[in-house]
């Protein structure tokens, strides 16, 4: 007994029958014929039994049955298949569509541009998601997964250690092998040459076999290289082999220096292998010697799923195993942080990109972007539908004649669909080709602020993306072609035979044009405001609080060094810099002004402002006690850090003015207490006392007032990552080479990374905002193009349909202005309404973003200029759509127009 309600069961049955009718039309027709034949034969048998001869019985049976074709048509009607039966696509339709393309070039170019933008834009999010979740190039079967810890509280990847690796290697049976690796930077020198920096990876013995990565020369790392006391060996990548060894085929056995140690080259990997991202060399990851060290030694872990083991099964096994508690730790905060972690099996790319287990699809923001992109495609389709409506309207007489000659409505609609499909395929083809070209030409890594994209990430178009583009083209053609075709053939098509009746654009098309213009104006205004704000040096300087152009910012990395040694290196390096002529000051922290700052949840003491909001977050900076003096940042209230403040017992912090305003409501800060309860470090979970207040120091460059920060004095060796800002008297960029020399003199293992001017640093928000501005500009351009084409379509149609009327009015002495106004009145009104709706939106946005407290009054002027510019662009482009129709109006000769009509 079916559990479905009757109506639902009937709907399901009807849908099934319809799908069968669509997909198996020939089979259905054949079965119908066979069934009728059986009927006639069975009746003939009966008639023969009653005494008729075989031939008479056949004849009689056929006569009684009636006309089989009529029954077939009735049967098709009964099954709701008549429209499907009338659908016939032929090459003739395609040829006709191509002819129409040539006949209305302007309309078609506009439609193709709309779809060439809309279709790739609609596809982009899914393509990106697929590209980011691709498997490693050497993993053809897609069996390599990352095993990681995920911190649900902070929604981020949490560290995994050598101890975790060891445990998973033994206990997880769903993987045939498990490997660990750690990325680092290496100062590499061959012979007496000065060292160059390369990304390196320390890898476990199982890594190369797991990835099925084979060398071009020599061998990869194997078990003997991991034994205690084994000689130092290195496998180098194709790039390093080319750059440092001039592609010497006898490179195996030669040596190179990494920091202070000499390594023997044992193999060269082929071009294109750069696991895990863009690494140039691989050295053995030797197990930490004691249990405690293994717990602290961070590595990343991957595994190869065993045959027939699904991700779900491996995940279930890992979940059952749980996250091991920290051995030998008595720190409650650390234990608690560890306890909330989740062990996960995820695609390798997710480990690398730090995305949650579901990938991009799991991010609500990504869903919104996807929706937005589809909305844009829908708008494009709506506009193309308007163009096709206009184009079809000019052919009503032709369609009416075809209808009179026997073409059904379905047949006409299907032909218009083919025309739209040809348009959509051309648009999709151009769009896909343009995207493919752009991917090849544009340095995407640079746009994303990276040196290079990971070697396994390819944004190139795949077959699947092309198929998706074709499918989207078909959907677009259905929306943009079938709807207007149904609309236009819906009325009595025969009435168009005389050419007397007229098709008019309805409210829907008017609304579309108004909406296009309104959104274009708003988008152009917003893009202007956003980019203006992001590049406003006044806002930036105010937020940075330091003369950033005078500082050189670098990150120091010293691989595998104990805290004590780090402290010595840090002190020596800073002292050496301070001794250097031309260096004015040296500031040390884990986040310099203008960089991204780490956020943590915090609590204030009992005498807090009264808000019991325990989910407040603040950015924290671990800074050297000389930090503010080095940056020349005045202390606004209280005192600066003192030498003893970095001791863990001192427990003092300095907050900034944004924190005082936002978290303390502008009240007294000195003497108040703050703590970080969910910190992994139990020391931080205890109270700190606020002893001073500083101004803005580039915590949130886009919006200084919302850049609340707490500065924690930190002893040398404990600032991680170790970032240093060096203020020089001369051009800071010229100091980079000398800075590297000083680093080498202090410790050859020191790697200087990410050297740049402090003023050139950009926070993630900046890229986001500039991306938004760019997106808005693209949106505005597309919408303006669509609105222009829509207006052009409307005007062209109006001119064609009213040529006779214009001719008569011209003959009766109407002025050119009056004639133009007849046709242009409506579109001009629509543009005006659109601009009136869009302008306040743009103005509001401009005001919000460009008005800063204590502004100097230049903002109003900037808004005025921006609005005038915005309106000017939109009106210029929109009016340009009227040019061709205007020329046609003015060129209409009364006698010719009337003769043509008659």
């Amino acid at each position: 007994m079916s559990l479905l309600p009757q109506w639902l069961a009937e709907l399901a049955a009807r849908t099934r029958a319809l799908v069968r009718g669509l997909t198996q039309r020939a089979t259905l027709e054949r079965e119908m014929r066979d069934e009728f034949e059986h009927h006639i034969a069975a009746r003939a048998d009966d008639l023969m039994r009653s005494g008729l001869s075989a031939s008479d019985a056949q004849r009689q049976a056929r006569r009684e049955f009636g006309h089989a074709n009529t029954h077939r048509m009735d049967a098709r009607d009964a099954m709701g298949l008549t429209p499907i039966a009338q659908l016939r696509f032929s090459w003739l339709d395609v040829r006709l569509a191509l002819r129409i393309l040539r006949k209305h070039p302007m309309l078609n170019i506009a439609a193709i541009i709309a779809l060439a933008v809309g279709i790739p834009v609609g596809l982009a999010p899914a393509h990106l998601a697929r590209a980011l979740e691709a498997s490693l190039p050497s993993d053809a079967e897609g069996r390599v997964r990352a095993i990681r810890h995920w911190d649900p509280l902070f929604s981020r990847v949490a560290p995994t250690s050598e101890a975790d690796f060891a445990r998973w290697s033994v206990a997880v049976k769903g993987f045939t092998s498990v490997a660990a690796f750690r990325s680092t930077l290496a100062a590499v020198a061959v012979g007496e040459a000065s060292p160059s920096q390369y990304s390196a990876a320390q890898v476990s013995a199982s890594l190369f076999p797991m990835l099925d990565a084979r060398p071009t020369f020599g061998r990869t790392l194997d078990a003997r290289d991991f034994a205690a006391g084994a000689p130092d060996v290195v496998v180098i990548g194709h790039g390093l082999w080319s750059a440092q060894f001039a592609r010497d085929r006898n490179v195996v056995g030669r040596s190179l220096r990494i920091g202070r140690r000499l390594y023997e080259v044992v193999g060269v990997m082929p071009d294109g292998f750069a696991f895990p991202s863009n690494e140039a060399l691989w050295i053995p990851l030797r197990a930490a010697e004691s249990g405690g060290a293994a717990e602290r030694s961070r590595v990343q872990v991957i595994g190869r799923l065993a045959d027939a083991v699904s991700d779900e099964r491996a995940q279930a096994e890992l979940s059952a195993l749980g996250v091991a508690p920290l051995v030998g730790s008595s720190d409650a905060g650390e234990m608690e942080a560890r306890a909330r972690l989740r062990a996960e099996v995820v695609p390798f790319s997710l480990l690398f990109l730090g995305l949650p287990a579901g990938g991009l699809d799991a991010l609500p923001e990504f869903r919104y972007v996807q929706l937005l992109m589809f909305a844009l495609l829908l708008v494009a389709c709506g506009n193309v539908a308007m163009l096709i409506f206009a184009r079809t309207a000019t052919r009503l007489r032709e369609l009416a004649i075809r209808n009179a000659l026997g073409a059904s409505r379905t047949r006409i609609v299907s032909q218009i669909f083919v025309e739209a499909l040809v348009l959509a395929l051309v648009g999709a083809g151009i769009g896909v080709f343009a995207v493919d070209w752009a991917i090849g030409k544009v340095n995407i890594a640079q746009l994303a602020g990276e040196v290079a994209l990971p070697y396994w990430l390819s944004l190139e178009l795949t077959g699947r993306s092309v198929v998706s583009a074709l499918a989207l083209a078909a959907v677009s053609a259905t929306v943009a072609g079938v709807l207007p075709a149904i609309l236009i053939t819906g009325r009595n098509i025969a009435s168009h035979l005389s050419g007397a009746s007229r098709v008019r654009f309805g409210r829907l098309t008017a609304t579309l044009v108004v909406a296009d213009i309104a959104v274009s104006v708003a988008a152009v205004g917003m893009a202007f405001a956003v980019s203006q704000h992001a590049t406003d040096l006044r806002v930036r300087d105010q937020a940075l609080g330091v003369p950033a152009a005078e500082y050189l910012a670098v990150e120091l990395r010293i691989p595998d060094e104990a805290v004590e040694d780090l402290a010595i290196d840090q002190r020596e390096f800073v002292a050496a810099l301070q001794r250097e002529g031309g260096v004015r000051s040296v500031a040390v922290s884990d986040a310099l002004p203008g960089m991204d700052h780490r956020s943590r949840p915090y609590e204030l003491d009992a005498a807090a402002t009264g808000a019991e909001d325990d989910s407040r977050w603040v950015r924290t900076v671990n800074a050297d006690v000389e930090y503010f003096r080095s940056l020349d940042a005045p202390i606004r209230q209280g005192r600066d850090f003192e030498r003893g403040d970095a001791d863990s017992a001192a427990r003092v912090v300095i907050v900034n003015t944004a924190f005082v305003a936002q978290a303390l409501g502008g009240g007294e800060a000195i003497g108040r207490r703050i703590r970080f309860p969910s910190s992994a470090n139990a020391n931080d979970a205890r109270w700190y006392e606020i002893v001073g207040v500083v101004g803005h120091l580039g915590v949130n460059v886009m919006n200084a007032e919302r850049g609340e920060a707490v500065y924690i004095p930190t002893a040398p060796g404990q600032v991680k990552p170790l970032r240093i800002a060096v203020r020089t008297t001369a051009e800071p960029a010229q100091f980079v080479a000398r800075l590297r020399e000083i680093a080498r003199e202090v410790n050859p293992d020191i790697v200087i990374d990410k050297a740049s001017l402090l003023s050139d640093l950009r926070q993630a928000d900046w890229y986001l905002v500039m991306g938004l501005a760019l997106g808005l500009v693209v949106l505005a351009v597309v919408l303006i193009a669509l609105a222009t084409s829509g207006l052009y379509a409307m005007l062209s149609l109006a001119v064609s349909e009213r040529a006779r009327e214009i001719g008569i009015r011209a003959a009766l002495g109407a002025t050119r202005g009056a004639l133009l106004l007849t046709i242009l009145k409506r579109p001009l009104m629509q543009m005006g309404i659109g601009a009136l709706i869009g302008l306040p939106l743009a103005a509001r946005f401009l005001y919000e973003l460009t008005t800063t407290p204590g502004g100097d009054g230049s903002t109003a002027g900037a808004i005025g200029v921006a609005l005038a510019l915005t309106l000017g662009i939109v009106l210029f482009v929109a009016l340009s759509s009227c040019l061709v129709p205007m020329r046609r109006i003015l060129g209409i000769e009364a006698s010719e127009a009337m003769r043509a009509e008659s």
């Binding site: 069961a9 009937e10 049955a13 069934e35 059986h38 069975a42 049955f65 009735d74 049967a75 099954m79």
Partner: protein, 113 residues
């Protein structure tokens, strides 16, 4: 020979459902069965039979399958689905109510007015 009855529009589906409910049967068989169970009173137009069968199949009330008929020919056999059984029972009741109401109306006497 019994007098043939005019089949009211819309009632053909009900009669076909009844015929099919008595056992799996092919298209020509439906025609014969209706003639038989109505005592020859209902003669279905051959042209109306197949559209009705396809309509019922499309609604999911009957299901067709290809098989071999008694004279060893390939034929399409129809049977009632669960949904069809339910629909048939509902339509039967509705029909019965209508027949009762009409019968009652037609046998009314002046005293009842």
């Amino acid at each position: 020979m019994p007098q043939s009855a005019e089949l009211l529009a819309g009632n053909l589906d009900l009669v076909i459902l009844k015929a099919v409910s008595l056992g799996e049967v092919h298209g020509y068989g439906v025609l014969l069965r209706i003639e038989q169970i109505s005592g020859g009173a209902i003669l279905v137009q051959q042209g109306a039979l197949y559209p009705a069968l396809y309509r019922l199949e499309q609604r999911g009330l009957i299901a067709g399958r290809w098989g071999t008929s008694s004279n060893n020919r390939r034929a399409r056999f129809y049977s009632l689905t669960a949904q069809g059984r339910k629909q048939f029972s509902e339509e039967m009741q509705s029909w019965q109510r209508l027949v009762d109401a009409i019968a009652l109306s037609l046998t009314a006497t002046p005293n009842q007015v």
